[in-house]
Assembly symmetry: D2
Homo-oligomer: 259 residues x 4
């Protein structure tokens, strides 16, 4: 059986003097989602990370979030659909300029933080995001949770989409993520995370926090780049997938192949 999957990471989150160190994860992933300045990132760091991602031939995507530097885009905000649509268009377009000037172009868009989470269950928000992305470019792949309103909105608008799974996050048995902060929500052991990545890639399943095996159809696996053990986690997951014969391909190559 041929199994092809993408590994993505959220990067470019450095802001002014604050360094996230997320560029360390680049050698281990095939796609990156770059912060665009509203919740994190700034033009200098966007330029740097896009340049590095180009050198490694990674697929480059935008990672738009709420305009909330202090809360890092992790605090819910009640914006109008029109605000969300235009904020997304703004951020994706800004990043797109950096990609183009490095001789590349954007492949995909993955919302960040609270915006990502709200788009799982809120159809209005999901459609506003998808509309902003569609306006930025009809070829852009929308990345979201399988079964989310966001991926449904991509379908409605005819946008390509990619379902995403998390190797280092615990799942409830309904396929949603165990909320950050709850016990066991984060998998910190690289071996455990790699085992879960293998299950996702090879079998399309993951074991939920209460021990059930649930289906997780995913085209891309997220590896976090901003945690202490991120590099080791990324290296371990990549090695295991490759050892098991899983073929890694970026969203550039996988676009349209949505599971």
């Amino acid at each position: 059986m041929l199994t092809v999957i993408d590994l993505n990471s959220d990067v470019g989150e450095s802001f002014g003097r604050w360094r996230s160190g997320d560029e360390e994860i680049l050698p281990f992933v095939t796609s990156v989602n770059v912060a665009c300045g509203m919740h994190a990132g700034d033009p200098v760091h966007m330029d740097e990370i896009v340049g590095k991602a180009c050198d490694l031939n990674l697929a480059i995507g935008a990672h738009p979030g709420f305009p909330d530097l202090q809360g890092f885009g992790r605090r819910e905000m009640t914006l109008s659909p029109r605000e969300i649509e235009t904020y997304v268009l703004y951020q994706v377009s800004a990043l797109s300029g950096f990609a183009l000037s490095h001789g590349s172009h954007l492949t995909h868009v993955k919302p960040h933080g609270a915006l990502y989470n709200m788009a799982v269950i809120d159809d209005k928000i999901a459609r506003a995001i998808a509309l902003g992305v569609a306006r930025a470019g009809e070829h852009l792949v929308l990345v979201g949770l399988p079964g989310s309103c966001l991926l449904q909105a991509a379908d409605v608008l005819g946008l390509p989409a990619a379902a995403e799974a998390f190797a280092d996050r615990a799942y409830n048995s309904d396929g949603t993520l165990v909320k950050r902060g709850l016990p066991g929500s984060i998998i910190e052991d690289p071996d455990e995370a790699a085992k879960r990545a293998l299950d996702i890639a090879l079998r399309g399943t993951i074991k939920s926090i209460d021990g059930k095996e649930i289906p997780i159809p995913a085209r891309t696996i997220c590896v976090h780049g901003d945690t202490p053990g991120a590099v080791e986690m990324g290296r371990t997951i990549r090695r295991r997938l490759e050892s098991a014969g899983v073929i890694l391909r970026s969203l550039k190559e996988l676009a349209g192949l949505r599971k």
Copy 2:
């Protein structure tokens, strides 16, 4: 003698609940410079004003400024050349996305406020701006004061450029603007401003504050849209130019025809 000139205005400066009212000037100009969110403007208002400018077939340009909402981009900041280059690329690209999604595209870039003024005399800043613009698109026309470092930097990089004159600002006899706040620095009488616009368009000259006639080679004349009498000023200038047989053409049509 055939005389062709552009009338431009700085617009899109509304921010959240704050409305500049600058969309009132649109019917009287041929090109607009749209704020990009760092010193003024926000994605919702950028989208609105770009849509209106498209309806009127105006040339759309970016109006990037310093990241200083509180100071409206009018306070000097000492940024590194790399910061300036990437901040310009960021802002121009963000606005470009709105223009593209309305089926149009950007024609030009005109720096705002303190950034514009610093680029008149500071070669490092001028080159950083020009580099940011060149990275956003080699076809973009850079708009600046005649004789400024900014227009020289455009030449160095092979960017098209357009020299700009102000019908409603007083000039020193060396061709620089009389600083805002000094007595007589702003021309408030529409008739007087229109007379000056005619001199600029037909004779390429303007009378300085100490009474000398000085050469002002200009391809575009700026009309301010955010002052109380802006609409009356715009209407009067436009009428007089047209009555005198001056042909108004936007920077879309004039690009490359730098005086």
Copy 3:
């Protein structure tokens, strides 16, 4: 029967070049709630408005809001109680410095926009606000909707409180405000608003949008200062109250006399 009431207005909302014009309402009110820089206001304008309020011997209060300049504090944000408590303490303290340096001091605190509305029904938010206010000074009067969680939280912490009514907003029959944007939510006719102010002051009642007379125990009536007809509205309400023998006293004088 002796009737004493306060008239308050939200002011100091100017930000950089953006002028709200809300200082025009000062002569018609007895207390002001001054924006503190997070959703609106800046140090220069805070200083100006506090100076003017001192000259008129008005009671000066803080008007803290969410950190959201673009949304003017009118967009809900999900902050932790600790964030809300410290954001309130920060804003109240900053404004307090201006009052003290003008030889005055703060009398009260009234949350702004989405923070105010959320504190009506969310007990955790209400307590976080009250805690922040208590830390800024136990003498500070907390202003809120009658029956709100906010006023209950003031009771729990032993803070003085003042119930507030709106002469220019429609009410549902359960005593809550008809949401902005719904038809009839805003009373624009000064005479109608003045009539309602009289009902509030003299009878402690208001007519709801569906025609019922409901009890509105209020120690202070809010008059908006940032709408086109604000001055006329303020003047009319004040005159009518005074003509009817209602005694106007600021929250400085009324503190502790909660209805």
Copy 4:
């Protein structure tokens, strides 16, 4: 000979998810200068650090800066004297509220970054800062470079002041600091820095970068808390000073004893 000196550090610079780790330096200093939210810091972190400083009985001061989170207050901005005065008053007052609510109060104010440097040589800026501090409280000690315009402005306004020296920064022979970024500008060896601290404390001198012994009258020595070796540096300097019989006293105890 009795020698008494203060050790101060800039702290409270964490912002949202970004942690500076500067609270590690607290056990080794006697006074802290706390960021106030404009260039760094946020209400949650201000509250935390002020609480810790109170537990250790440190003198607490404000560390106001330019409103520039992206530039960390290290980029020069051309603000009007009125803006500087009110921005300082705002920041000092905000922090003051946290100190008061922890049962303490502010002792001093030390401007941050570009604002500090500009106040060395620009008299207008220095006076605007001093005026803002005076309005926040006449007892507040203004901390600055010996011979700076800032300390002169303190004199003019009758504010107490404390001259500051840097153990880990190189000096030019005219008593100014060697600019950051130039070779040798930062002393990274704790022993070398401690030796310099001893010279400052015991002899009132320091060796300049070109080998001259120059007078540095200082009441307080700054120890940086945000660099990798900060803790080791702080520990070494403190031990050496104490071993040599230097008495460490905070600015709370030294106020008025300006050298």
